[in-house]
C-alpha cells in the first residue's frame, strides 16, 4: 500500500499541544497545519522552542495533541498508535542505544522489536553495516563508539525494518563533520533507493539546503514552507561579499551595521557577507570612501540569509527588538565597552601585538594514551582563536590545561605571562571560562547567579551591583532577572553563562563549545558579542565543531587525534585545501580534505 508520490504521507490539522511547566502553560504547537509529502526529504527548521521536537513526537505517537488531528499513512495517530509505529521509524535527539550491548546486539534487539524475520536479517544487517561503516566492529559495545558512530548505529537500528516514514530529530547535533556528511549520505541514499519519506529537524542551516521541502516553525506556528530555492529567490541580488584590504573584518562589519539598507552583516573569513533590504548593485555607497581597495562581489543567497531575514522580521514586532530597528538579532552596542580602559588596545589583526597565550610542545598523557601529542601555538591580544576538531581530537584537553584545570604532562604553557604549570591560580583572576555544559546553578535566579560569580571573583559593593546591572543590560537578561536559570531556554542560558564568565572583566576568555545545540539566531548573536569583545582587546580562545563558525575566528588550529593539522587564518586554510572538484571549498570541505590527506599520508 505504498502511496503514490507527492501524496501526503502525514498531515497535521490545526494541532495544538500545550505543556504545564511548573505553574506556567507552555504552548509548544498552536494551530499547526502542514502536510508531509511522500517520497521526499522535508526539513523542519526553527529556533529553539519552535515546536520541532513536539511535532516529531506527535507523529511518532509519543504525544497526543490537545486539539486537532494528526494522520500518518491514513491512520489517526491518537487512536492507532501501534499500527502507525509499525511503519514509522523515529530517531530521537538522543537516540537510546543500549551502551552495554554490542553493535550487533543492539541491531538484534530492534530487529526483534520490529518483527524482522530471521531470513532477511543477514542481508539487511550486511547492508546496514556497510552503509554505516560499522562492519568492522559488530562486537564492539555501543558505549565505546564515537559520537558519530553511535548516531549512525542509531540510524541503522531505526532502518532495520525499512520504515515508510523516517523521523529524525536533529540527527547531527554533536556529530563531527565527517560523520555528519556520512549520515546525510545514508539519508539521501535511503530515500532514493527505497522511496522512504524523511522528516528531519535540524539546526544546521546548510543541512536545510539539502532538503526537498522546508517547513519553518516559530513559536509553535507555521511561519512559511516551500523549497529551499523559494526561500532564497527573493534575496537574489541582495547578497554580497565585501572585502577591504587593510581593514579588519570586524570594523567592516561595524560600518555596515550602521548602514540603513543593510539587513544583515556577518564576518566570513576575511570578508563580510551582507544582505540588503532592497535589490542593489552596491550595498556600500560611500561607506568605504576612505579606503581604496574595496572588493565587492555579488554572491548567491543562502538559506541562512533567508532564515535570518524571516525570523528577524518577526522579531521586529516584538517589543525587545533592538532600538535601531535592525531586524537582525539583538546585538551589543559597540561603544559600551564596560571594560577597563587598560584593556582597549589597537584593533585586531596587527601582528605586532603581544602574545597573550603561549603554548609550546604541550603534551598530555592518560595512561599510555596521548590525548594531546605536543601542540604549539600562540594567541595575540584581541584575537579570536579557534580550536577546531571532531570529538576526541584533544580540544577540550588542551583547553583544560590552559585553564590550569588539568596539569600538562610536558611542554610550556603561559597564559597572560603566567606559567600555568606552576602557578595556575594566579592566572585565573585574569581569565574567564565558559564550560561546554550549562554549569550554573539551575535553582538560583539569573541575578543570584551573577551575584555568586561576581563574589567568587571578589567583586564587592557598588562595583558589584554596577557590574550586575551591566550584565543584565548587555545580555538582555533584565526581563528574566528573577527567573530560575534552570528553566530558561537554551539561548538565554548560554547568554547567562557568557555573562557570568565576563563578570570580573577578564582579559582572556576561554569558551568551550559555546554554541553547541544553540539555535542559529542565538549563535549569530553570540559571535557578534564575541567580536565586540575582541575589538575591545579581549583575547578569545574558542572551541567549536561547527566548521562554518570558524569563519568568525581570526585564526584557527585544526586538531585531530591530539595533533594540530593546520594553523592559519580560515581563508588561508580554505585556499590550501582547494581541489579540482571543489574550487571554492567551505570550511567543512577544507576540514574533511585535511583529514583525508592526513590519512593518505599515514598509510
Amino acid at each position: 500500500m505504498e502511496a503514490t508520490p507527492l501524496q501526503p504521507i502525514a498531515t497535521f490539522q490545526h494541532v495544538t499541544k500545550t505543556f504545564a511547566q511548573g505553574k506556567q502553560i507552555v504552548r509548544a504547537l498552536s494551530r499547526f497545519t502542514a502536510s508531509i509529502e511522500t517520497g521526499r526529504v522535508t526539513g523542519l527548521i526553527g529556533p529553539d522552542g519552535a515546536g520541532k521536537t513536539t511535532s516529531l513526537r506527535i507523529l511518532a505517537g509519543l504525544y497526543t495533541p490537545d486539539v486537532g488531528t494528526v494522520r500518518v499513512l491514513d491512520r489517526d495517530v491518537a487512536t492507532e498508535a501501534l499500527a502507525v509505529q509499525a511503519r514509522v521509524g523515529y530517531m530521537p535527539q538522543r537516540f537510546g542505544l543500549y551502551e552495554d550491548l554490542t553493535v550487533r546486539e543492539n541491531l538484534d534487539l530492534y530487529a526483534d522489536l520490529q518483527g524482522v524475520s530471521r531470513a532477511v536479517r543477514t542481508d539487511r544487517y550486511r547492508e546496514l553495516m556497510e552503509m554505516t561503516g560499522l562492519a568492522p566492529f559488530p562486537n564492539r559495545l555501543a558505549g565505546k563508539l564515537s559520537g558519530g558512530m553511535k548516531q549512525k548505529l542509531g540510524l541503522a537500528c531505526v532502518l532495520v525494518q525499512p520504515p515508510a516514514l523516517l523521523l529524525l530529530d536533529e540527527p547531527t547535533v554533536g556529530v563531527d563533520p565527517v560523520s555528519r556528511r556520512e549520515l546525510w549520505q545514508i539519508i539521501d541514499r535511503y530515500v532514493r533507493d527505497r522511496h522512504t519519506t524523511v522528516l528531519v529537524s535540524t539546526g544546521y542551516l546548510d543541512e536545510a539546503e539539502r532538503c526537498d521541502w522546508l517547513i519553518v516553525l516559530d513559536g509553535g506556528k507555521l511561519l512559511r514552507q516551500g523549497t529551499p530555492e523559494s526561500f532564497c529567490a527573493p534575496l537574489r541580488d541582495k547578497t554580497f561579499k565585501i572585502r577591504v584590504r587593510g581593514m579588519p573584518q570586524r570594523d567592516i562589519q561595524a560600518r555596515l551595521d550602521a548602514c540603513a539598507q543593510v539587513a544583515d552583516a556577518v564576518v566570513q573569513g576575511e570578508s563580510v557577507r551582507v544582505v540588503t533590504y532592497e535589490k542593489t548593485e552596491n550595498p556600500c555607497h560611500g561607506l568605504f570612501a576612505d579606503q581604496d581597495q574595496v572588493a565587492l562581489e555579488s554572491v548567491p543567497p543562502r538559506f541562512e540569509d533567508a532564515f535570518v531575514m524571516l525570523l528577524g522580521s518577526r522579531q521586529q514586532d516584538r517589543p525587545q527588538a533592538s532600538a535601531d530597528g535592525k531586524p537582525a538579532a539583538p546585538r551589543l552596542p559597540t561603544r559600551d565597552t564596560g571594560l577597563h580602559a587598560a584593556n582597549s588596545c589597537p584593533a585586531t589583526g596587527s601582528p605586532q601585538t603581544s602574545q597573550v597565550i603561549q603554548v609550546e610542545g604541550v603534551k598530555r598523557r592518560f595512561g599510555d594514551f596521548y590525548a594531546v601529542k605536543g601542540v604549539t601555538f600562540d594567541v595575540q591580544r584581541g584575537e579570536i582563536f579557534g580550536l577546531l576538531g571532531a570529538n576526541g581530537a584533544g580540544k577540550t584537553t588542551t583547553f583544560r590545561m590552559l585553564c590550569g584545570l588539568l596539569p600538562a604532562s610536558a611542554g610550556k604553557l603561559f597564559v597572560a605571562g603566567v606559567d600555568v604549570r606552576r602557578t595556575a591560580a594566579r592566572a585565573r583572576q585574569r581569565i574567564g571560562y565558559m564550560a561546554q555544559k550549562f554549569s550554573l546553578y539551575g535553582a538560583l535566579s539569573v541575578v543570584d547567579n551573577l551575584r555568586f560569580f561576581s563574589c567568587a571573583y571578589r567583586l564587592r559593593g557598588a562595583a558589584r551591583e554596577e557590574r550586575i546591572g551591566w550584565a543584565l543590560r548587555q545580555f538582555e537578561l533584565e526581563e528574566v532577572a528573577a527567573v530560575a536559570s534552570g528553566s530558561l531556554p537554551l539561548g538565554f542560558k548560554q547568554r547567562l553563562s557568557f555573562a557570568c564568565a565576563l563578570m570580573h572583566e577578564p582579559e582572556i576568555l576561554f569558551l568551550d563549545e559555546p554554541t553547541s545545540g544553540v539555535d542559529p539566531l542565538a549563535r549569530r548573536e553570540f559571535w557578534r558579542r564575541t567580536g565586540d569583545l575582541a575589538n575591545q582587546g579581549v583575547t578569545v580562545l574558542v572551541t567549536t565543531h561547527y566548521m562554518e563558525e570558524a569563519e568568525n575566528c581570526d585564526r584557527v588550529a585544526i586538531m585531530a587525534a591530539g595533533d594540530i593539522l593546520a594553523l592559519d587564518t580560515p581563508e588561508a586554510i580554505k585556499q590550501k585545501m582547494k581541489t579540482v572538484e571543489k574550487p571554492t571549498p567551505t570550511m567543512e570541505d577544507a576540514f574533511i580534505e585535511l583529514l583525508n590527506t592526513r590519512r593518505v599520508g599515514k598509510t
Binding site: 505517537g61 523515529y90 551502551e99 550491548l101 546486539e105 534487539l109 526483534d112
Partner: protein, 368 residues
Amino acid sequence: MRLRGLVRKEFLQVLRDPSALAIALVLPVVLLLLFGYGVSLDSQHVPIALVVDHPTSDTMRLCAEFAYSPYLAPITMHGLPEARQAIMERRVDAIVHLREDFSEKLRRPEGASIQLIVNGVDANSARIVTGYIESAYGKWLEHSSSHVGAAPSIAVVMQSRVWFNSNVLSRNFLVPGVIAVVMTLIGALLTALLMAREWERGTMEGLLVTPVSMNEILLGKIIPYFLLGMGGLAISVSMSVWLFGVPLRGSLMVLVLASTLFLLTALGMGLLISTLARVQFVAGQVAIITTFLPAFILSGFIFDIGSMPRPIQWLTHIIPARYYVSLLKTNFLAGDVWSVILPNALALAVMAAFFLGMTRWLSRKQLD
C-alpha cells in the same frame, strides 16, 4: 519474538553491568554471611569477673558452675578494685562478688547473698548476661541440693522448653529474614534503578516508538528480574540450609509460592516507583526508603513487631515484607502451618495485584 528480544536484552545488560550483578548475586551472599556469622543476638563466652573474698568448698563449686556454662567465661580476680577496673575497661561484662561470710551465711536460715554488678551500657546484653548468670546459679542450687541432701527453700522449679528454635539461636530466625531483604533488593531496588535508567538514557523513547505494546515492555522487565530474584532465593535457601544449618521444616513448594507472591509485589513496587520517578537517583532513594528500609526495620526481620508501639504496629500492615517474613519464619522453623500461611499469602497476593495493576494503569506508551 518481541518479548524474547526484550528479555534477552535485559539479561545481556545485567551480565555486562557489574553493579547489577553485585546487587543480584553478591549482595545476597554478603548479607547472609553477615547475618549468619557476624550479627548474633546471642552472647557466648561472656567474660565475667569472679571476686571471692574467702574461698571455701561452696564458693569453689559455684565458681566451677560458672566455668561450666558455655555462655560465660569467668576470670578470677583479687579484690573488687581490680574487678571494677576491668569492667570499666570493658574487659568483663559483669562482676560476681562472693563476700567473706558467704559459706557461713549459706547455712543460716536467711541464706547468703551474691553481689552481681552488670555493665548496663548495652541494656540488651546486660539483660542477657544477667539471665546467664542466674541460670548458672540455678544449676548450682540444684546440684548443691542433691549434694547436701537438704532441699533448698525453693518449692517450685520451673521447667521451660523452647519450641521451634530449641537452641534459641538468633541465626535461625535472622537468616530466613535475610531472604526477604534480598528479594526486596532485587525485586524493588534493582528493577526501579534499571527501569529509571532506560528513561534517563533515552532508551525508553526508542522503545516506545517501536510496535511493542506496554504489556510487552513491562513483561520484558518482570520476567528477567523475576528469574533473577528466584536465583537469589535459591542461593539464599541453599546457604541457609547447608551452610548455616537452619532447619527447613515446611515444604519447599510453599516457600517457592510465597516467594513468588512477594517477588511479584516487590517488582510491582519497583516498576511503580520508576514509572513515577524517571530519574535513577530519585528512584533509588524512593526505593530504599519505601521498600528496603521497611523490609529491614518494620517487617519483624530483626525487631519483634509485637513489641513495637501500637501506631507502628498498624503501619507494618502496609509493609509487604512483614507478611513475607512471617511466612518465611513459619515455613523454616515451624512447618506448613496453614492458618499462618493462608492469610499472609492472601495479603501478598492482594498487594502484588495492587502494585502491578497500578503500574499497568499508569504506564502509557507516551511521554507526557
